[in-house]
Subunit: 215 residues, 2 copies
DNA sequence: CCGCATCCGGGGCGATACTG
DNA sequence: CAGTATCGCCCCGGATGCGG
């Protein structure tokens, strides 16, 4: 992107982050942790391959992303956020929080949805009220590939593979799953609207924020 | 901008805010309050006139900006942020905070600087330790048009005109002025590097944050 | 397969000129 | 003062190819 050439920290930040797709690439890396080029493409439906490559190069040059060679069993390139890149977490949270009212009407016809994106909301909203107990594993199903998140204390991690046992499964339309994870929708209300909750309700409630007064 | 068409609150936010210049337009409106088209152009060196007009239309349609007719003495159009637009303040602060390390080396040759942009940092960093006392007025000079900011309690406002008396004047290179206002640079150290402080040091110290340990 | 590079059409952007 | 109008250019989107 052409620089704004303004001696202003906002303009300088946008010189690095303001190009199309850049913030969404950071989103994927925050959700997934170190991952392959192909995984990034999967999480960024619509991006052109050359753009992804160029953005990654730009972010690497800016010290936001680092690339490393995975050890011999896999022997592939991994992309990860640097500490400087991790500092973008609060920026992304604020943007995502601001964007939440734009989700109210449900997805548009052409909108795609990936369960992994719900992890962003989960990381923002879920807090473990009993952080000393073993982690809780939640499976999310919303029509696409289900994902499993594991959460303990303040940490919410995406679990690749989706195999293994889970404590509770949320299954329903994206707005319902997102509403519950973000705390915007009470669990019972979501169930009344069609969300299916299988497994331990208790494990779930351990993580959900206090239902802030809607009034 | 083309929509990302992703049912994700970050992507939805970027559908509104992600186009070039949009965030900087919000910056100007946050700093200046309601202002005219011409004032916005002044604060956005480099923007094409048609782009500014189109962005304002888009932001208006998105409920971020409102336009109003000023009463007859002036009888001009004013642009202001809606409450929804004001909610972008925290987003801009996080972005600007992330961008601060990119300012360390001082301005590049082609960089332009407007004293008003320093107000963003002032709004982020300055806190009045004696909010019950009358406001403090600070003049900023850094080579261009000087500006006056008035600060009391948590409020930091840009004062148009620059006329009237001030409590203290900061005069020096942009990195020095910004360093002091952001709290990154101790006042004495800035003075040793060439910052000129005329007037009441005490009024200034009333507002500056505690010099966080640099270690 | 994985991680790109190349090619090409279309549209967003930049700069300037012009107008009610 | 508050915008349109116009015109290149380059970024972006989509497809395909290709070396490791």
């Amino acid at each position: 992107m052409r620089s704004y050439s303004q001696y202003c920290s906002l303009a300088k930040a946008l010189d690095v982050l303001g190009e199309r797709w850049t913030m969404l690439i950071v989103r994927e890396l925050l959700l997934r942790g170190p991952c392959r080029y192909t995984d990034l493409r999967e999480g960024l439906p619509g991006i052109a391959s050359n753009l992804l490559a160029e953005r990654l190069r730009t972010l690497e040059a800016a010290g936001v992303v680092a690339r490393e060679q995975a050890p011999p069993p896999v022997a592939t390139t991994l992309f990860r956020l640097t500490p400087r890149g991790e500092e973008l977490r609060t920026v992304l949270y604020e943007l995502a929080r601001w964007g939440m009212p734009l989700m109210e009407g449900g997805p548009a016809h052409e909108d795609v949805f990936r369960e992994e994106w719900a992890v962003l909301l989960a990381q923002m909203s879920l807090r473990d009220s009993q952080p000393d107990r073993p982690p809780v594993r939640i499976q999310l199903r919303a029509g696409g590939d289900p994902v499993v998140i594991e959460t303990a204390g303040a940490s919410v991690r995406l679990h690749r593979g989706g195999a293994g046992s889970v404590d509770v499964t949320l299954d329903g339309a994206p707005p319902l799953v997102l509403g519950v994870l973000s705390g915007r929708l009470a669990l019972e209300q979501a169930e009344r609207r069609g969300l299916r909750v299988e497994g331990s309700h208790k494990a779930l409630r351990r993580l959900l924020p206090e239902p802030a007064g809607l009034a």
